[in-house]
Amino acid sequence: MDFMLDRIHKAQSFCNAACEKMGQQINIMEVCGTHTVSIFRNGIRSTLPKRLKLLTGPGCPVCVTDQGYIDIVLQLADRDDCLIATYGDMVRVPGKGGSLETKRTKANVKVVLSSEDALQLAKDNPNKIVVFVAVGFETTAPATAVVVKEAAAGSIDNFCILSGHKLVVPAMRALLSGKNHNIDAFLCPGHVSVIIGYGAFAEIVEDFGRPCVVAGFEPLQIIEGLGEICQQFSADKAELKSVYPAVVTEQGNTTAQKIINECFEPADGYWRGLGKIEKSTLKLKDKYSRFDALKRYNITETPGEDTSGCRCGEVLCGLIEPPECGLFGKSCIPQTPVGPCMVSSEGACAAWFKYGQPKREQ
């Protein structure tokens, strides 16, 4: 414990030194939703110098999923021949005419814990077409690819996926290419880096001159990641580093990458808050197109309209903090979420609401 505290104090001293040297606010964006939750749960913000500001990024899969995608899922849930298989957090995201949770009364929405469960659902329900709501970054994409291949090999034709898979690096590029951004450095996601390797962030450092540091999810690892970034600021450098060497390599998991590439190809796609980003989403390759729900049902994905007043998009880009949204803590609370950032357990608004400021008595 003492050893841990020593390392924390060391990292904190780097943060203090950088803030002093820079003489202005330093904004570090944590890209991953799991980082956001850990930062709040461990009270990390309260231990940082005032001038070091953490911005929450577009790293929660449910949150970045565009409203248009949600509306397609809801549309499919209305069909009697469909069985929707989804990860838990998605069921509460509101869209046109309710959420999957309200549709669940029709018993054609099933919560699954893995893509394998979704495929099993198809095997168990031969009279229904199981549509797997496949969201997530490079972390969950390999698992989706595996079941698509399994379905193809076993000719399980009543199975398809609605791919909402997204790529992290194009989103980071989009953020830095925007005019309004205030991002000085990135705390890069640990889980995604296990798959894509920390080398994938090199282009951000090279093209935009922003420090990128990959960190794990324990409080010590996060603080050390922030300390590493601050050391770079003090030394006037912008480098690519991983402080998560136990599990993240430069190349990443090449087997998982290969499986993704076998099934998917990058395509332009919509993100909540960020709009359309070039080659930022994964769509099934032509040889697997019969498992593509969009093709099967002849649906074209169009950008959806965010609920009026909901500022999740700006929260996801680190432009505002949740309490700056007029709905936060008023009409948008965990019991009755308006936007996905309040729905997801990894959402910035939910974390802020749960661990952040005390809710004042009305």
Partner: protein, 362 residues
């Protein structure tokens, strides 16, 4: 007709006729028999030499019925006993009502009745009256149990929110989160192998010992000089308030105490006992262990002078070996809040959990 010919509950077993009688005589009485129950009257006659009684009821619909560390039977006895225990009373009698779905297997019913019998014996309390209803298949999920309990208030013990004062210490009698995570780990669709075990236990033995020994009624073991002085001069009872942190976990109970007393609470993460297997499971599922249900724990608010005494009494009891002083009652500045000092020295709010719908944990 003998019930032994049936291996399942029939609707007629709740019909009040011969089958009901046989169910009571062949299955209930052999397990739960005592003089009061054996009279099989419309009401139980109790001789209680006290004017001050506690009375409570609770219904149990846990799924699955059998889980590592207990079952619905044990839970239905312990849960009601604990509600009486934390109110400062000694449980003396329980009522037991069974609502059974047609087709429920007798061997499972017998197993549940054995657990009820064992739990009642362990806690020195009799089941003195009861009821059985059967419902059509599909109208209930296997078996639901209601228990009601009467307890005799311990002499000289007066617990309440109004007794709580700044500086009071907060004690918990052991690890948190064990019950809730055990149930979740055995739920359909999530099932995972683990060494998780519910903490389901009746606490009256420990609470009675604690209350008797810190309220000046009886001499104390392991007493410290300071504690005995306060008792001799009768400054105040050591224990001021108790509650069992069931649904909503420690987070809900501490928030209730904070709100009820109008005072803030500060707890230290490092002092809150959590078993490594529970912590690992909570991390995996993304749960905050502070919000997970317990069924064999109580939180006691005690005067600072008596805190060490109380802790020792707990530690000397089988159900309090891992007891810990987890924090203090502190001055309220704005509104009463519960704050956690994290292991890394950060601070965050512990909110009243908003009740992620975890189905039927008790």
């Amino acid at each position: 007709m003998k019930t032994t010919k049936n291996d399942r509950i029939l609707l007629a077993h709740g019909g009040g006729g011969q089958l009901t009688d046989e169910l009571i005589r062949h299955h209930i009485l052999p397990k739960l028999k005592n003089d009061t129950l054996a009279e099989l009257g419309d009401s139980a006659k109790l001789n209680v030499a006290s004017k001050s009684l506690c009375f409570t009821t609770d219904s149990y619909v846990v799924k699955p019925l059998f889980f590592n560390g207990g079952d619905i039977g044990k839970l239905s006895v312990c849960g009601t006993i604990n509600d009486l225990a934390v109110a400062g009373s000694k449980p003396v009698a329980l009522a037991l009502s069974l609502i059974i779905e047609e087709g429920f297997e007798f061997k499972l019913l017998d197993k549940i009745l054995s657990s009820i019998s064992q739990a009642a014996k362990q806690n020195s309390v009799n089941i003195v009256t009861g009821d059985i209803k059967t419902v059509e298949a599909g109208a209930a999920d296997k078996i639901f149990i209601n228990t009601a309990g009467i307890g005799v208030k311990l002499a000289g013990v007066d617990l309440g929110f109004e007794k709580i004062a700044t500086g009071d210490k907060i004690i918990i009698n052991g690890t948190i989160g064990d019950h809730g995570l055990t149930i979740i780990s055995q739920r359909e669709g999530i099932k995972f192998q683990s060494q998780l075990q519910s903490d389901c236990a009746g606490l009256a033995g420990l609470t009675c010992e604690l209350l008797k020994n810190t309220s000046g009624v009886n001499p104390v073991r392991n007493k410290t000089p300071e504690a005995s002085v306060s008792r001799l001069t009768g400054i105040s009872n050591g224990v001021k308030f108790m509650r069992d942190p069931t649904r909503g976990g420690l987070a809900a109970t501490l928030n209730e105490i904070s709100k009820g007393s109008g005072l803030s609470i500060e707890i230290r993460e490092a002092d809150v006992p959590v078993s490594p297997v529970v912590q690992a499971a909570a991390n995996m599922l993304g749960f905050d262990v502070l919000t997970i249900a317990n069924e064999g724990k109580f939180v006691a608010i005690v005067s600072p002078e008596s805190a060490d005494d109380c802790l020792n009494i707990c530690k000397n009891h089988p159900l309090g070996k891992e007891a810990s002083i987890i924090g203090e009652v502190v001055q309220t500045h704005d509104a009463p809040t519960v704050e956690l000092i994290t292991k890394i020295g950060g601070k965050r709010i512990v909110q009243m959990p908003y009740g992620r719908e975890l189905p039927r944990i008790c």
